[in-house]
Assembly symmetry: C2
Homo-oligomer: 522 residues x 2
């Protein structure tokens, strides 16, 4: 059992004194006062929709009731009351509102347990895979309403499935917590995203706070609270605030770093004393680069590659162990790292044809390397890595390393001062830090400092749903954060150019890679 003293959504049993000629407290006030007494502190407010229902609930079920109450921004607020005999259950939703994938998790709020997690492609992808296209669409006639409806319809459809599979009444879904980037949050709430992508990059709202399900249009209890994670700014959204919450770095004595490679590369550095962040909006090379490959992660996709340089054999493993059909971000990083160690790619990121042998092919004048021949692939076609793919990955990894270098430099620390290096996202769950270091994407730190955290946006949303302290912490993280706008100036470009080598022009930054190369070349 979880300790629920910290829950901001509560189910309280009240045995109210029935009214009499001597006690003519109104029905609504009887509930509010009883709840205040049960909570032991503070004021409790009730909205008009519930006021309307109290008298008939009392008439039908008497005064032995349970109330569902949540801590609002100023006071506690009543969501509903139910007859005491009607059981003892309360459910909520944690939602990761990704621009590519939306994850909805059903939780038992009293037990603090996850009951089911469903994920689906964000239906807005139909409008455009990237955020800019969607923002432009939103400013067209009824575009915003359409985007909002797309996300909501998708979420509501999944909710229908969840409540039906778990035999839950829709009204028992009484609270939700949503973490998404700034644009996704704007779309969900129907907020004007116009300023997000235009200098000086101002969102409509940074702290939506708690809104009611009926205001958003979510298919749960209409009066239920929806906590929407605050954004730091246009390029640093509630998903990252949730990520920081999930990592716990904001409570750490030592310096930690959190990196999330989604549509952008977002980086946070800090500890319990300070938090700074930046996002890779400047690193346009990352967009549609690593992100696109990462999004492809799924059954049959190659996530690990090992090359035996002597025999020239490639050993691939796929998600679910199925015949290979493609390659995801983490597999690609493994592949390039292995190719580099095997001498099949040089330090400038060019294929070394004489080392690639049969595996090298020219298609339309561009060199391709066959990773899996057609006969072994699920698709019946060669799975290849082209020079174009490779160039794109190198630009991405160079941008990532440059952003990390810049941020660490601004704070006047060294990479070695970072005691914990968290990698968030699907990408973070699969990535092999060893390979990421080999290609010079991540700094050359002892491997045990790296930790993949999985979906931190969802984890943070779940925490804020279950705990008042976590919800408050999320808001505090947002307020504590210093967001640094990255300038793509000459210095940044110099660093970027130096990082466009494998692993880097300055090999002294990567002693472990030097060591590996020595071993491979023996």
């Amino acid at each position: 059992m979880t300790d629920h003293h910290d829950s901001w959504i509560r189910l309280l049993r009240l045995s109210l004194p029935p009214p009499s000629l001597k006690d003519n407290t109104g029905d609504a006030e009887r509930v509010s006062k009883g709840t205040e007494k049960a909570l032991g502190h503070g004021k409790v407010r009730m909205g008009l929709p519930l006021m309307k229902r109290v008298p008939s609930l009392f008439r039908e079920h008497g005064y032995d009731i349970r109330v569902i109450v949540y801590k609002g921004e100023e006071t506690w607020r009543l969501v509903d009351l139910v007859p005491a005999k009607d059981g003892n259950a309360l459910y909520g939703l944690a939602i990761d509102l990704g621009s590519a994938t939306i994850v909805v998790e059903l939780l038992d709020l009293l037990g603090g347990r996850t009951l089911e997690q469903v994920s689906f492609l964000n239906p807005q992808v139909e409008v455009g895979p990237d955020i800019l296209t969607r923002i432009h669409f939103a400013t067209r006639n009824k575009g915003l309403e359409k985007l909002q409806a797309m996300a909501l319809d998708g979420i509501n459809r999944e909710i229908e499935g969840l409540v039906s599979r778990h035999r839950i009444r829709r009204e028992s879904l009484v609270a939700a917590s949503v973490a998404g980037n700034t644009t996704m949050t704007h779309f969900l709430l129907g907020l004007d995203p116009y300023g997000i992508c235009r200098e000086p990059y101002i969102p409509a709202v940074n702290r939506p706070g708690i809104v009611l399900a009926r205001e958003v249009g979510m298919a749960m209890h209409e009066e239920g609270p929806v906590f929407v994670f605050p954004n730091v700014g246009s390029y640093f959204g509630g998903d990252m605030v949730a990520g920081i919450l999930a990592s716990g770095m904001d409570q750490s004595d030592d310096i930690c770093l959190l990196v999330d490679v989604g549509t952008n590369a977002e980086v946070v550095l800090g500890n319990k004393e300070w938090l700074v962040a930046c996002a890779g909006a400047a690193g346009s090379a990352l967009e549609g680069g690593v992100a696109e490959m990462g999004a492809m992660a799924g059954p049959g996709v190659i996530d690990r590659v090992a090359i035996d340089a002597r025999k020239g054999t490639f050993k691939v493993t796929t998600i679910g162990g199925l015949p290979p059909k493609g390659i995801c971000g983490s597999g690609l990083i493994d592949l390039v790292a292995q190719l580099f160690l095997a001498g099949m790619i040089d330090t400038r990121g060019r294929f070394v044809k004489e080392r690639c042998g049969d595996r090298s092919k020219d298609i339309d004048g561009i060199t391709h390397l066959v990773v899996v021949p057609a006969r072994e692939a699920a698709t019946g076609k060669d799975i290849t890595l082209s020079q174009t793919d490779l160039d794109r990955l190198i630009r991405s990894k160079a941008a990532m390393y440059t952003i990390l270098t810049t941020l660490v430099g601004m704070m006047n620390i060294e990479f070695s001062d970072i005691s914990r290096f968290y990698v968030a996202g699907t990408f973070g769950s699969y990535i092999d830090p060893r390979s990421a270091i080999t290609i010079g994407m991540l700094p050359d730190l002892p491997l045990e400092r790296y930790k993949g955290l999985g979906n931190t946006s969802l984890a943070g949303a779940r925490m804020a749903l279950l705990s008042e302290k976590a919800r408050d912490t999320a808001c505090r993280i947002r307020d504590r954060m210093t967001y640094i706008e990255l300038n793509v100036n000459q210095e940044f470009m110099n660093l970027f150019s130096a990082a466009r080598f494998l692993p880097h022009t300055d090999m002294d930054l990567f002693p472990s890679v030097k060591e590996q190369l020595k071993v491979h070349n023996q």
Copy 2:
């Protein structure tokens, strides 16, 4: 000019710093922070509907804006923002939600001036003139919704007229204050009135507080606050709380009494130290008695009667000086007082036929007294007072006097301890206290202690709309009030029987009437 430091609805001009790369505060937060600074204290909240509109308002009109803000129950809240150049006006509504008549007053909130007052028959009268019929109707299928729509449609139609006559945009109507009895308030808000008329007489809600115009359905700014006066209980509503506020008795050093004869007789006694109240639900004789006649007040209706006992002539004055067509409550009290002094009615309330002479007529075995003969009446028919009318009035006045005696007795004071005796309502504006004393309806106090206050419900609503202190005072009055349920016990019935004489069985209670009778009988 009124002092507006006390207004809870304000229009503030803000000249906001435009956003920059160095100041990426969200649009909504820019407005909230600017407003907080302008107010100089406290937090300011914004709802989702306004959050949605801020970015485009900024785009179209820039950062020189005015905000409309009101003090909510916990924090200040934003209603809207308008470009600074779009002028400087703010309007509100004070509403007296009577069961017979609804009055809507349009106010200029910045000048604190009344612009126009309109009154109309409560459309719910169609369902039934009395409250009980309407409550029963409300509990039938969709009855409550219908009653709510009737009141709302009526109010909204008048609002349309007001805004069009005064060339005001509907959105400039930003606040309202509503005072009505408990049942009318329940109907307007769509609250279940079931418990109001059933023991132990529990309303759904006593403190509706501030609701938004869109929640109620009023045709003004959707996000504008509607302050709904709190009820003390089922039989003591917000109209009376407003009345007390308007009278100022709650601030008085001396003991005051306020009586309102509407559908019920409602009485409040007290001063700045204490307030007690009771309502004449027990005095069923009043229902449909004085009230019905009082409701008839209007052009051509007799409001004053003087009888020359020697000549046997009746001099009537009518409202507006038009030919007489009926008689209202105050006229009736004048008439009966004059008939009594002229010896045409005896102390038991029976017509003295020999004194009435030609004016006495038997219709269907019931004695009628012709007040205005057919040839002088606007209706072309005799305007008469029947023994039945007379009996009903006497029951009403006896109930009123009994209620007053009971309440004063409970507080262990004498009528003479009352320094101010306020009579509220249309009835109170027209009534001649001299005549009311003559028939023994009101106690025999020096006339200068009586004061007619007119529509105190509307006056209180207006005060609470214009002043934060008045709004707070209304809530404090409600909380300070001790409501006494009148028991129709043997003692009450004994007092009632003694009061069914003109003016009373105990003539020593009415020394001034004794004096008058002496003069008349000389």
